[in-house]
């Protein structure tokens, strides 16, 4: 199970980073969300994978580690705030510059030469 869990975290990291390296704001937001899933799962896993337990006194025979859970709980909420802020930044940048490119301007030369390749990329 540990291997599967680690692979899931690795996939979330990879996909998150790849999207964060994209040129448009929306994929970057998606990438950040994926990356925070990965990070949250990783932080959570520092308490090890416990089955059929609870971090609740008297709730179960096995206790799962409550500390990483408390940290991740706030991390999830803060992560939402960060995503919301990033989305707002993206919208504001779109409103101010008219494009949704992260650099605030289209890279005119590359747009032209790549337009023909659009099919190939899909």
């Amino acid at each position: 199970m540990e291997l599967v869990f680690a692979l899931a975290i690795g996939t979330l990291t990879s996909t998150g980073i790849y999207l964060m390296l994209r040129a448009r704001t929306f994929p970057v937001v998606l990438g950040l969300t994926l990356l925070s899933y990965g990070v949250n799962l990783f932080l959570f896993s520092t308490g090890r994978l416990v089955r059929d337990g609870q971090p609740i006194i008297g709730g179960a025979d096995i206790y799962s580690d409550p500390l990483p859970q408390a940290l991740v709980l706030t991390a999830i909420v803060i992560g939402f705030a960060m995503t919301a802020f990033l989305v707002t930044l993206a919208l504001r940048s779109h409103a101010d510059t008219g494009v949704d490119h992260v650099d605030g301007a289209e890279q005119s030369s590359t747009t032209k030469e790549s337009s023909g390749r659009e099919e190939a990329d899909q």
Binding site: Q54, M82, D100, V102, D103, E118
Partner: protein
């Protein structure tokens, strides 16, 4: 703190003196000389104590944490330099009164001059090396300002920049060296450092420390290969050249060597670095001086040469040589300052400094000529003048230097050769300027004697040359003795200051220098022709090109790294993070630990597979934004399932509700953003990014695996044990959040509040054009608020609110709490916005959400502060049990009030963020397409 006063006086003068600028040059000159006079009077009473061989140390703590103190030290060496600075300072002030023209900015000039005087006094009187560094840098800065005093001249600006670059760079090296000394010795106080000489010399860092300090000293004192800045500093007004660039500032490096002599000298490294640098500088300066047609150029190179001589003397390492070095500092200051002043007078009266034009001035200004000739004779080392005595000592020491084998001839030879050059250029200064025919097309003709008072400073200095030259023991003996004793750290060798020591080898060397120098001067045309053959290097051009090259290089590097593209920065960020973490991780090893892997069950494997697939799908479909968003929500839901599977019910609940809010938010933003992402990058870029992403992903997988398969011990035992008895709750996660780590939570909800307010303020005045149709060109639905949705959502609200109250109340003991309850409330309210529109909802929710946010943070904070009232630290919780009919026994805890604050902040922040986005559309589009009220 009278020593501190001595240092502060000129600084005060620098502020006050310019106020007298309006009253004329005489008034400001008098005002400017007051600090020097007062300082001299303050120092006078110390003579008795210093003559007894004691040092005066005055100490006030400033920043003891870094070893910086306001501590000042007056001993023989400091006194000697302080007297030079103060006495020559007064003379320069008087001289400058007549040198400066009426229309020039005398206020600025005198202010800077006094600033320099204070900084220089600070260097020589500091007992703390860090304090000295501050003054050291200050002299470099003021020197820069004074060289560029005539800042309309390009040469002056360039010369100033060069001087600042060289001396400032040296200052950095010196700082590093001083910090190393501090590391070795453990203190920056001079008395400690000087006493720790053996410790410093034995330390492994000694060579580098010495080299750094010497770079500082050599740059300041214009030693080869840093000497070239000094001749270019001659663009300064002549009083500045006389004061800073011959008598005092360039001696700061020499002073440093003398000051740290007991701590650093006496090793082979010292000997070779210092003496050979001095030797090369001595020769180069003397040689080049010979060929300079500019009067000040000649004097500048001669200064370089004499500084080399003093450095060489210090480098020799014998005590007698150190005495000679200190002595020559005084002698050089007197004759060179007077020569500069004379050169300034000649420049003033003839309008040029070119020795090919100014000839035969004897006829026009015999008084000045006499003074200049005496000073120049001292520079050449003519007997009965002070230059002669120290030069004899120098020759004697050069002979004493026992280098192995044939090298033993080197120092005396170099000394004699430099002596020959010195005689030749001094002869040129006298003969070319005052004799040798008639002046040729002088800009000012006929030249005449300067104002009476302009000559007085020169006269005083020339008188000093004569007095020291004829009665050395009487005039300068006692001062030299205590200065030498302070330099050497106590023991002064036997030496006699006498006009002549009988017929000996040094005298013979002097004789050789004289005859050789005069012959060389008489045959000067041949030497000039010889010198002409070599292309002269224009240091200024070389320096400028180096500066330009460095500037261009850094600009190229900056442009390469920083091209304004955030996309690129993100790439660099990930690459850096990857590189930085890779190294320590490889040391740890990615190996699988000792714990056995737990078995995989089919539902979990399926869930993981779907999660991985959905994540990859999000990337593959990312150009179709809505599709990839749907896939993303699948990932989020599966993350929540994962939390639930691995015994984290609170996390599962939080993730679930955050997921809903996040997806609504992203869908909302998609309304304004393009629906598709164009292809902009090349295949190479994409594969490069895939490579980076894969590398990071593989790394994370290995790290996670390595982590999960290792045994661990957690501090969580503490929380599990104390949750119930200490925090009064059985849900340990919630007790940690609101009690054990309540302060963290308070910080986190504050961040949440700030983010929400940031979103609100960023969106408040932003207007985005909402598209009139969807991306396929279809018009929006005419019914933005479908009746069914509206009807279902309305009864849902009280139900959802009830659930959130339930979740909130049970949070302390069972999964739930403020965060989750807040998110559930937020989702319930948002559904009303979606179903019934912003206007409808805002008519019913009158409280602005920013108030809710503020209220939440305030409640949480006040709960924390409340514990002060009972004499407990911030955020101490209290709880008891109460019982009510029907409900039974339940718990009351202050942590619950805190959780209420969390709840309100989460509700407020979430809704503030979403409604800010929902209200983005320009109102004008509302009429044509009223869909924007719900946003979605």
């Amino acid at each position: 703190m009278s020593l501190a006063l001595v240092v502060m006086l000129p600084f005060m003068g620098a502020v006050i003196a310019p106020q007298f600028a309006q009253a004329g040059r005489t008034a400001i000159a008098i005002a400017s000389s007051v600090p020097s006079l007062v300082a001299l009077m303050t120092l006078f009473p110390y003579w008795e104590r210093l003559a007894g061989g004691n040092a005066v140390i005055q100490h006030v703590e400033w920043l003891p944490q870094i070893g910086l103190s306001l501590s000042f030290r007056l001993d023989g060496l400091a006194l000697l330099f302080a007297l030079l600075i103060l006495v020559i300072g007064i003379l320069i002030i008087l001289y400058a009164r007549y040198y400066l023209k009426k229309h020039e900015n005398v206020g600025k000039f005198y202010s800077l001059l006094l600033l320099f005087q204070g900084a220089m006094l600070g260097i020589v009187l500091s007992n703390n090396l860090l304090l000295m560094l501050v003054f050291w840098e200050l002299t470099s800065v003021v020197s820069f300002l004074l060289i560029s005093f005539w800042n309309h001249k390009q040469d002056a600006r360039r010369g100033a920049r060069m001087a600042l670059a060289i001396t400032g760079g040296g200052g950095l090296a010196l700082m590093a060296g001083v910090l190393l000394i501090g590391q070795i010795v453990g203190s920056y106080e001079l008395e400690v450092v000087l006493a720790a000489g053996d410790q410093i010399r034995a330390h492994a860092l000694y060579p580098i420390t010495l080299a750094l300090i010497l770079v500082g000293a050599f740059t300041k004192s214009a030693q080869f290969p840093f000497h070239f800045w000094l001749p270019h500093a001659m663009q300064a007004p002549t009083p500045v050249s006389a004061y800073l660039h011959s008598a005092t500032m360039v001696k700061a490096g020499i002073f440093l060597m003398a000051r740290l002599y007991p701590a650093l000298a006496g090793t082979e490294q010292w000997f070779y670095m210092v003496s050979f640098t001095g030797m090369i500088t001595l020769l180069i300066g003397a040689y080049v001086a010979m060929f300079k047609h500019d009067l000040k150029g000649l004097l500048a190179h001669s200064t370089v040469s004499h500084l080399g001589l003093i450095t060489l003397l210090f480098g020799m390492g014998t005590k007698l040589a150190a005495v000679a070095a200190v002595f020559h500092v005084v002698n050089h200051a007197t004759f060179k300052a007077s020569l500069f002043m004379a050169a300034g007078i000649i420049d003033h009266e003839t309008g040029t400094r070119d020795m090919r034009r100014i000839n035969g001035l004897w006829r026009y200004m015999p008084h000045t000529a006499t003074l200049a000739m005496v000073a120049a004779a001292s520079m050449a080392g003519v007997p009965l003048l002070n230059g002669f005595i120290s030069k004899e000592m120098f020759f004697a020491e050069a002979l004493e230097l026992n280098l192995p084998g044939i090298w033993a001839y080197l120092p005396p030879l170099v000394a004699t050769l430099a002596g020959i050059f010195a005689v030749a250029y001094s002869a040129r200064f006298i003969h070319d300027v005052f004799f040798n025919g008639q002046p040729k097309n002088l800009p000012v003709f006929p030249p005449h004697e300067p104002p009476r008072y302009m000559k007085i400073p020169v006269e005083i200095l020339v008188f000093a040359c004569l007095a020291v030259g004829m009665f050395p023991a009487f005039s300068v003996g006692p001062l030299l003795f205590i200065a030498a004793s302070a330099t050497l750290g106590g023991e002064v060798p036997d030496y006699t200051l006498a006009v002549a020591h009988g017929f000996n080898l040094p005298l013979l060397m002097s004789f050789a220098a004289f005859s050789g120098g005069l012959v060389m001067y008489s045959q000067r045309q041949r030497f000039f022709d010889f010198h002409e053959r070599f292309k002269e290097i224009d240091e200024k051009a070389v320096f400028e090109s180096v500066v330009t090259w460095v500037g261009n290089l850094s600009e190229r590097v900056t442009n390469k790294l920083e091209n304004g593209s955030l996309q690129r920065y993100a790439l660099l960020l990930f690459l850096t993070a990857f590189t930085v973490t890779l190294w320590p991780l490889t040391e740890l090893g990615f190996s699988i630990g000792s714990n056995e892997l737990s078995p995989v069950d089919y539902p979990s494997a399926l869930g993981a597979l779907v999660l991985i697939g959905a994540a990859i799908g999000t990337v593959v479909m990312h150009r179709q934004r809505l599709t990839s968003l749907i896939l993303l929500s699948v990932v989020g839901l599966l993350v929540a399932v994962a939390f639930a599977t691995f015994s984290a019910p609170d996390l599962a609940l939080t993730q679930l509700s955050v997921e809903v809010v996040t997806i609504i938010l992203l869908v909302l933003s998609l309304f304004y953003l393009p629906a598709q992402t164009p292809v902009e990058t090349t295949a190479f870029t994409r594969w490069r990014d895939v490579g980076i992403a894969l590398a990071a992903g593989i790394g994370m997988t290995l790290v996670t695996l390595a982590l999960l398969t290792r045994p661990f011990s957690s501090i969580s035992e503490f929380f599990l044990e104390n949750s119930k008895p200490g925090g009064g709750g059985t849900n340990v996660v919630n007790v940690i959040l609101v009690d054990f780590r309540g302060f963290d939570t308070l910080g986190e909800i504050t961040v949440l509040a700030i983010a929400a307010l940031g979103i609100y303020s960023m969106m408040k005045y932003t207007k985005l054009q909402a598209p009139a149709t969807d991306r396929l060109g279809n018009p929006w639905s005419k019914d933005p608020h479908p009746t069914m949705l509206m009807q279902i959502s309305r009864p849902l609200l009280p139900l959802a609110l009830m659930v959130s109250v339930f979740i909130f109340l049970r949070g302390h003991n069972l999964p739930g709490g403020g965060f989750i309850a807040g998110l559930i409330t937020a989702v319930a309210l948002i559904s009303q916005y979606i179903a019934s529109g912003v206007d409808w909802s805002e008519q019913r929710v009158k409280t602005p959400y920013q108030i809710v946010v503020a209220l939440g943070v305030a409640i949480a904070t006040l709960t924390g502060v409340g514990s002060y009232a009972f004499g407990y630290p911030f955020l101490t919780s209290w709880f008891t049990y109460a019982s009510l009919p029907v409900i039974g026994k339940f718990e009351l805890a202050t942590a619950m009030i805190f959780d209420l604050g969390v709840y309100l902040t989460v509700v407020g922040a979430t809704l503030l963020a979403l409604t800010s986005l929902g209200k983005l559309s320009d109102p004008s589009t509302k009429v044509s397409a009223s869909h924007n009220e719900g946003g979605v």
